[in-house]
Amino acid sequence: MLSLCKGEFSVERDDDRCIRCLVCVRQCPSDVHKYDEEEDRIYSDESECVGCQRCATLCPTDAITIRYKPMEMKENANWKTYHLTNIYKQAETGGILLTGMGNDKPYPIYWDHILLNASQVTNPSIDPLREPMELRTYLGRKPDLLDIEDGDELILKTEISPQLKLELPVLFSAMSYGSISLNAVKSLERAATIAGTYYNTGEGGLHKDLHKYGKNTIVQCASGRFGVSPDYLNAGAAVEIKIGQGAKPGIGGHLPGEKVLEEISETRMIVEGTDALSPAPHHDIYSIEDLRQLIFALKETIAYEKPVGVKIAAVHNSAAISSGMARAGADFIALDGVRGGTGAAPLVTRDNVGIPIELALASIDQRLREEGIRNNASLIIAGGIRSSSDIIKAIALGADAVYIGTAALVALGCHLCQKCYTGKCAWGIATQDPYLTKRLNPEIGTRRLVNLLNAWSNEMKELIGGMGINAIESLRGNRLQLRGVGLTDTEYKILGILPAGE
């Protein structure tokens, strides 16, 4: 059948600059660039270009420009190119359209409507270059009060639940081995170890080579139970039950068979080349009381020595669900908003299901406080965190820490072409093709990630120091440090912040 879809990009080559080194030809996993030896010329098949910018970035003479050039239809406010091309594709394949990375639609981004406070005169700002500035964070269930006996020495009579110690309130989000390459996983693991934080295995199990480095690993237990065993659960520093994901609330994980090669199959304990489709719900969790049973089954397995958390997608009634989870024994709640990323998700789900993380976070934190159970569980939020200021705003709204996924991949080289599900990632991140994965050197990947975390740490210290705060816990839930611009009364009410000027 003739495809009615054209490519989305134009490839412009400055022939005066091109030295025929053929880097572009070798680098493009979509075979866009082809060299004609007779003519000594490189032709480009633009229809295959995904706009990953690999060739343009690596071209030594800067001869290539990739430009976004969607089909230009007659202007129509209702029928956008997006809708037409989707219909063409579905008319050609009869299938659900897949996509990768987070929701790219222009839903409101509340971070961009929130401004931070700073100290002037009555309260000195604190200079992080000259004074200690603390970002250390402990995640896990906390009791409401401590029993301490005073005598010659202090005796602590309350034993508190296991906690995760973070040197900065940022963790790497769940990204499975399978969706991303082993080199990407290794980069995350090493960077987490160096920076004093954690990475998350996602639902793909833990590669056998990585079991011994579990100190900074959160192992996930999802509905597909891929790679889950007592060994696996005990290898990590914490266990996370994955109920949902911001990019695809209501459905299970999705790893196309193209990416299930030998080692993935071994780690996940599934047949090579098969699609790994997790069930939409956990088939042993049909209710909150079932969740409680799984939480405690996992706690039994790890002898109550590590925290067990639950991850959900931010949906309409997250606040009530979170209250249930905090009461069901979850030591932390991970909340993934509508802009959360994915390796593969149905386009229709990614673009239309879930709610913005800012609103979900604000309502959950408030709800848990109203019920007096905010100490029961720590709150980690995820879904489109782009910068250190997003993190500071999230913490002031009430988060204990944030997960970053997309930002970490961008640090590793991702250019957000959203084609992770094809397994042809030119940057060696979301692929299992050995020719491509070797492009990501885990040593360099580690350094890039550690640099990002250091840079963000320094920025966060500047921001909180400016507010006259020298410990991150004094910012957590401190919404008075936030002011909004350009929001509606209802949004102010939900976010629990005042408009700028008030």
Partner: protein, 363 residues
């Protein structure tokens, strides 16, 4: 009278406190001289005192010092009091005509909770709840203090004028604390002056708390209603929660408010490290961040504390069985030319004096 409802109250200030660790009583002239010597730290928009041991004949009763905007508020509040308390004795709070302008109606009541109203709560919990109701629900009424055998005296004005107005030279107390206020963003309101008092606790405070937003939300989880929008109110509730309700030793509560840095904790011996780490982990929302020096008066003693990096001044001194603390050395030298010892307490380390026990923590 204008009650402040807008933003958070911000103020600079002077604080001073005198305790006799043997429980000997002195009259109010000394504390007035001490705070008056730091005149420039106030701007005339608030001054106040708290005194302990001043009502020995009624020491079994909660001494409610109340102020009313008008007789209507008084009527409504007295109705409320009568319903919930047995009033042993009541009367005007003695004052004299001075430069202090437009005083509200100032009354004191010695009361005990009505048995049948207590339900299952303790007397103290009941009193706190009722005090909060008066402050937030009965318009034009405000409880200045509600402890036993103690009271707070406060007004809009310079502290020395406030002391004169309330005839403090006629009272004898074992602990005196005082405050001169320099608010930067609020019109003067009598209720906004310090000390802030709740049950037997009274607190004076110099500083601004950057963590106010979370301290307040944390307290709300435990049923406190922060109606005054002042840092001082929050400090008082934090003490009430941690010391009275959670029964933490006072110096431990101070560690929650002004904890050591993680670097320091990491270097502590194993046992101490575990205790401090746990306190910071569990009571993170109680950390009072930003500049402050506070003096807390309580039934049998006095406590002074600085923020964890000492962004506000605080000096302590002893002379025989007296413990004195003050924003400035001048506040101490004015009433005691030659102290036995005078020092600057360390950041985040409390100075605690107890009647019968002496100075137990030197800061």
């Amino acid at each position: 009278m204008q009650k402040i409802t807008g933003g958070k109250d911000i103020s600079g200030c002077a604080v001073s406190g005198i305790l006799n660790t043997n429980g000997k009583k002195i009259d109010g002239r000394y504390i007035i001289r001490s705070i008056a010597n730091m005149h420039d730290r106030s701007n005339g928009l608030g001054g106040g005192f708290a005194a302990y041991g001043i009502y020995p004949s009624y020491k079994e009763y909660y001494a409610f010092h109340l102020m009313f905007d008008d007789s209507y508020a008084r009527e409504r509040c007295e109705e409320f009091l009568d319903k919930n308390f047995l009033i042993e004795r009541e009367g005007d709070i003695p004052t004299r005509k001075t430069v202090i302008q437009n005083p509200p109606i100032l009354r004191r009541y010695f009361v005990e909770p009505r048995e049948e109203k207590l339900d299952k709560s303790s007397e103290d919990d009941f009193v706190i709840r009722e005090v909060m109701k008066i402050n937030s629900d009965i318009e034009g009424s405000y409880v200045l203090s509600s402890g036993k055998n103690m009271a707070a005296f406060k007004a809009v004005g310079f502290p020395e004028d406030v002391g004169n107005f309330y005839r403090l030279e006629e009272y004898k107390a074992e602990t005196w604390i005082a405050h001169g206020r320099f608010p930067t963003n609020t019109p003067g309101w009598w209720g906004g002056a310090h000390p802030f008092a709740l049950l037997d606790y009274s607190i004076v405070h110099n500083g601004e708390i950057s963590s106010y937003g979370i301290n307040k939300r944390y307290l709300e989880m435990f049923g406190y209603r922060c109606t005054l929008l002042t840092d001082t109110e929050v400090m008082a509730y934090l003490f009430d929660l941690l010391v009275r309700r959670h029964k933490l030793p006072m110096k431990i509560a101070c560690k929650a408010f002004a904890p050591p840095f993680w670097d320091e904790i990491d270097r502590m011996p194993e046992k101490e490290k575990k205790v401090m780490k746990t306190i910071r982990t569990v009571y993170g929302s109680c950390l009072v961040n930003g500049p402050f020096s506070i003096i807390l008066g309580f039934k049998n003693g006095m406590l002074a504390l600085n923020d964890r990096i000492k962004l506000r001044p605080l000096i302590a001194a002893t002379k025989k069985d007296f413990l004195m603390v003050s924003s400035e050395e001048a506040g101490i030298r004015e009433i005691c030319k030659e102290p036995d010892k005078i020092w600057s307490p360390k950041a985040g380390e409390p100075v605690i004096g107890l009647i019968g026990k002496g100075v137990v923590e030197e800061g």
